[in-house]
């Protein structure tokens, strides 16, 4: 699946997007964040406060317990500050 990062999440991870293949045991957004956090210090820093991170699956906001099965694109970002 494709993963995108925005704003300070993007800056901390150090890239705007990538393709990942998490193991089948990673089933929810929460579990994906925990799995990503274990990849390197950069990810751990980006996701150090998982409750602050917002997630979208295929362009729609989802909660931390949302299933990631079948997702084409998952995006992680801080709370929005547009308008």
């Amino acid at each position: 699946m494709k993963v995108k990062y925005f704003a300070w999440v993007r800056e901390r991870v150090g890239k705007a997007e990538e393709t990942i293949e998490p193991p089948a045991t990673v089933r929810t957004v929460e579990e994906l964040i925990a799995w990503l956090s274990g990849r390197s210090e950069a990810y751990a820093y980006a996701f150090e406060k998982p409750k602050v991170i917002r997630t979208a699956i295929d362009h729609a906001h989802v909660k931390a317990d949302a299933a990631i099965a079948g997702a084409r694109e998952i995006a992680f970002f801080p709370p929005m500050t547009g308008g």
Binding site: F6, A7, A56, A60, H61, P78, M80, G82, G83
Partner: protein, 160 residues
């Protein structure tokens, strides 16, 4: 006999270029005699944020989702209020104080629907559309933090 449902053209644009409010209102109301009220809200880059001087503001967005998220809220607004037209323009890029950032136009037969729908759309644009602001000031550059007051403003439109 039921009166015909007025058509409600919707325009949603995310762009780097500036917008001309008068021109956008003229486009929205052209050849229409059923519109009795147009509310216009423009958001402008200001120089002061929590007592620090802002030199510039950079707006980042999530292409694709930003348009879809705005469209979802525009559709909700047209189902909640009798609107005759909606225009939402959100700029992205780098802005100096005084420059336009966002425009919301709502047209209706009567003012109340237009006022309420414009406020509803702005409250959701701030809290739910994927845009992020980064400020540049003498102290350096930093991402703007979301305000709880914006979440509270959006929450008052939630229907149980």
């Amino acid at each position: 006999m039921t009166s015909p449902v007025p058509s409600c053209p919707v325009a949603i644009r995310i762009q780097e270029d500036d917008f001309d409010i008068a021109r956008e209102i003229a486009v929205l109301t052209k050849s229409r005699t059923d519109i009795g009220a147009v509310v216009s809200f423009s958001g402008i880059c200001r120089a002061d944020e929590d007592s620090s001087r802002i030199a510039a503001l950079t707006l980042e967005h999530y292409p694709g989702m930003a348009e879809e998220e705005i469209r979802r809220h525009v559709e909700e607004s047209t189902s909640r209020w009798p609107l005759n037209g909606v225009t939402v323009i959100h700029r992205v890029g780098r802005f100096m104080p005084g420059q336009n950032i966002v425009l919301v136009l709502t047209a209706s037969q009567h003012r109340r629907a237009a006022f309420e729908a414009a406020e509803f759309l702005m409250d959701y644009l701030k809290t739910s559309a994927p845009f992020w602001k980064k400020e540049e000031s003498a102290a350096g550059a930093g991402w703007v933090e979301a305000h709880a007051r914006d979440d509270e403003a959006a929450a008052r439109w939630t229907r149980s």
